[in-house]
């Protein structure tokens, strides 16, 4: 036990002496959490619209103002022909063309209907789909507020059209703000980086520099050496997590709805699983470069498959299976549940089980492999 203490003392000395690592551990959570949620925003704004008006009537102008005032669109051009509008799309100036045919107003009043044409640049899939959708709903709204649709002929009771209106309400994130979704996810990302990368690199560094040779001829036992490596990064991970939670509260005003104890319990177990993952990588690598690439490969997959960016439910079946096989998935899920929804421990027992299994399997594999190689 005494030896372990000396090893821990040494490890902390080394960690605190490495200025870059120290800076990374404190600034990365602050910077990532303050910048990323604003930048990685899926709310689509500033859609560039070319408004091609063949009618030039009061109605078409009204529609134009309505679109411009919706907040989502930027009117970037008023082309005179469809071809000219298409040129703007080709040059990347416009994302959408809305074409108003000649006789728009006349047909609306006389016939009660009129078709318009929307052309969308689909290179950025999300932007085009959402942009088209927004535009359609603006048009629908415009349609509903047209004078002749509101003022039905007097006394013609039978002509009154029955309409169902949908009033939505978003639970746990009432204003559907993207940051509430992103911030807890980024917090998980931070722990993943600290747990996965730092531990892997640190052990491999001893191999690369050769210090492990000197350690191996001392009476230090393997479990003491490994524990001496894992404990500091577990502590560092918990500190980073705390910094992250603080930033989350100070910058975004998000305070976990659920209990902090449950949150830290999960963070602690998740870190153990991730440290096992790092240890496993360090047993197969001989240089920091190798370890970095292997860790990067897996962490990349973990994060992309974890439901951090995209919903797991919309993945194909095999991808969903894969997603369940990464610890990140479960932890992100749980953090969102606890932070936003206020779930208690009894609601997330299944995820707790998953993470414990991951912790046991990853550490077991690492120790088994470590024994084999040396």
């Amino acid at each position: 036990m005494k030896v372990l203490l000396f090893i821990l003392q040494k490890e902390f000395r080394q960690i605190f002496r490495d200025r870059i690592i120290l800076a990374m551990m404190t600034f990365v959570p602050i910077v990532q959490l303050s910048i990323l949620p604003f930048a990685a925003n899926f709310d689509i704004k500033n859609i560039n619209l070319a408004y091609l008006d063949h009618d030039r009537s009061p109605y078409s102008e009204k529609l134009m103002h309505k679109i411009a005032s919706s907040g989502y669109f930027e009117l970037v051009g008023y082309p005179f022909s469809y071809r000219e509008g298409l040129n703007q799309i080709e040059r990347g100036e416009a994302d959408l063309i809305l074409e108003i045919p000649a006789g728009f107003e006349r047909n609306l009043i006389r016939e009660g209907k009129q078709k318009v044409n929307i052309a969308v640049d689909a290179i950025n899939g999300t932007k085009s789909a959402l942009g088209g959708g927004y535009l359609t709903s603006v048009l629908a709204d415009f349609n509903a507020n047209l004078v002749m649709n509101i003022q039905s002929p007097v006394g013609a009771a039978g002509t009154r059209v029955a309409r169902i209106e949908i009033a939505g309400m978003s639970w746990f994130n009432p204003r559907e703000e993207y940051k509430y979704y992103m911030v807890p996810g980024i917090l998980v990302l931070l722990l993943t980086l600290i747990g996965g990368f730092m531990s892997a690199l640190n052990i491999v560094r001893e191999k690369e520099i050769g210090t492990i040779e000197q350690i191996n001829v001392t009476p230090i036992k393997k479990w003491q050496f490994i524990l001496g490596k894992l404990v500091p990064f577990w502590i560092v991970g918990i500190i980073v997590f705390t910094i992250g939670l603080t930033v989350q509260y100070l910058v975004y005003g998000i305070f976990p709805q659920g209990s902090l104890f449950t949150l830290y319990l999960f963070a602690g177990i998740y870190l153990i699983a991730l440290l096992g993952f790092g240890l496993l990588i360090s047993t197969v690598s001989n240089s920091q470069l190798q370890a970095m690439f292997v860790a990067f490969f897996f962490v990349m997959i973990f994060i992309l498959m974890s439901g951090f960016f995209t919903s797991i439910d919309s993945m194909p079946g095999w991808a969903r299976q894969m997603s369940y096989l990464t610890p990140v998935t479960h932890f992100i899920h749980v953090v969102r549940l606890i932070v936003l929804k206020g779930s208690g421990l009894e609601h997330v027992l299944k995820e707790l089980g998953y993470l414990i299994v991951f912790a046991i399997v990853l550490n077991g594999l690492a120790i088994w492999n470590y024994r084999k190689t040396s």
């Binding site: 000396f6 090893i7 520099i209 210090t211 040779e213 000197q214 001829v217």
Partner: protein
């Protein structure tokens, strides 16, 4: 016997590369034993086997009467190892390194200070400096201190003087002499033949095998032929011509002279005179010299090479 090695073999890449080939030797208490040989002779593999970092394929070895395979944990308490590559924590200071290695051996810097005092005093002015920022010679001294701090019975030094300047090398060997007086056995390896004379006994190694084990003086004495040194203005032409001469047994460049032996030492003086007369080279001088360890080494190496050749046929 502090170290006993019996018929150790070690191969790498599933037998493709033979690193240690049937090696046996023994080191007495308080003896400085040198493994002398070029890079790739198998010195480091032997060190790693004796310090329990590597398992031999066959053969047995004992350190302080403990088996290197079975009693590896006990051996680790009793030996000090200084790997060829500087293996201390570069981001810890001199003192922190020393204290760390003292504590993992369950001792303190103060307890065994007398053992390292002479050496430590030389690096003490830099004790708050990080180990990575020390000069090569200082690093070696620190590594030696760390290997000594738990008062080991046997010290394993793998090429401790490689890459160290001449003055530091000399100082380092003086320190080893002092440690020997403390009754610590020292197994040291070096590629420098001139350091061989500083050992009590040496083993000359080549390609994983030991060619000869004896005291440096005996090895030099057992050189079977008269050795001559030849010098000339045009040394390259001289080398070509001597190697073509049928009375010459061997001739190779050694520093700025050529060392040569004749097939027969009878009437050697006349042979020398004949060669000087025949060669007609400017400033040609041939004189008899006493062989060095390096001459013995090269001779043994050649004999081994011809033996394997004849074996092959």
């Amino acid at each position: 016997m502090m170290v006993e090695v019996n018929n150790i073999n070690k191969t790498y890449n599933e037998g493709e590369i033979t690193a240690v080939n049937n090696v046996s030797f023994a080191v007495d208490k308080g003896e400085i034993f040198g493994l002398i040989g070029p890079d790739g002779a198998g010195k480091t593999s032997i060190f790693r086997i004796l310090t329990t970092l590597l398992l031999p394929d066959s053969g047995s070895a004992r350190v302080d009467d403990l088996d290197v395979v079975k009693d590896y944990q006990e051996i680790r308490r009793r030996v000090g190892y200084m790997p060829g590559k500087f293996s201390l924590y570069q981001d810890l200071t001199v003192e922190e390194n020393l204290r760390f290695f003292a504590t993992v051996f369950n001792t303190t810097l103060e307890e065994n200070y007398h053992l390292i005092e002479d050496i430590y005093q030389q690096i003490a002015p830099f004790k708050t400096r990080r180990a990575g920022k020390l000069s090569g010679g200082m690093k070696q001294k620190l590594a030696l201190c760390c290997a000594l701090i738990h008062r080991p019975q046997v010290l394993f030094l793998d090429e401790p003087t490689t890459g160290v300047d001449v003055v530091s090398r000399k100082e380092f060997w003086e320190m080893l002499r002092k440690l020997k007086q403390q009754n610590i056995s020292i197994l040291v390896s070096t590629p420098y033949m001139d350091e061989a004379d500083l050992c009590d006994r040496i083993a000359l190694m080549q390609n994983g095998s030991i060619m000869s084990i004896d005291t440096p003086a005996n090895i030099v004495e057992s050189f079977p032929k008269n050795l001559y040194a030849a010098k000339a203005g045009d040394i390259y032409t001289l080398l070509k011509q001597l190697q073509g001469d049928e009375v010459v047994e061997s001739c190779f460049a050694f520093g700025e002279a050529l060392h040569l032996t004749f097939k027969s030492d009878q009437d050697a003086d006349n042979t020398v005179k004949r060669i000087v007369a025949e060669q007609q080279l400017d400033d040609l001088e041939i004189s008899r010299i006493t062989p060095t360890i390096e001459d013995s080494f090269i001779r043994l190496m050649r004999e081994n090479a011809t033996e394997t050749e004849t074996d092959g046929k």
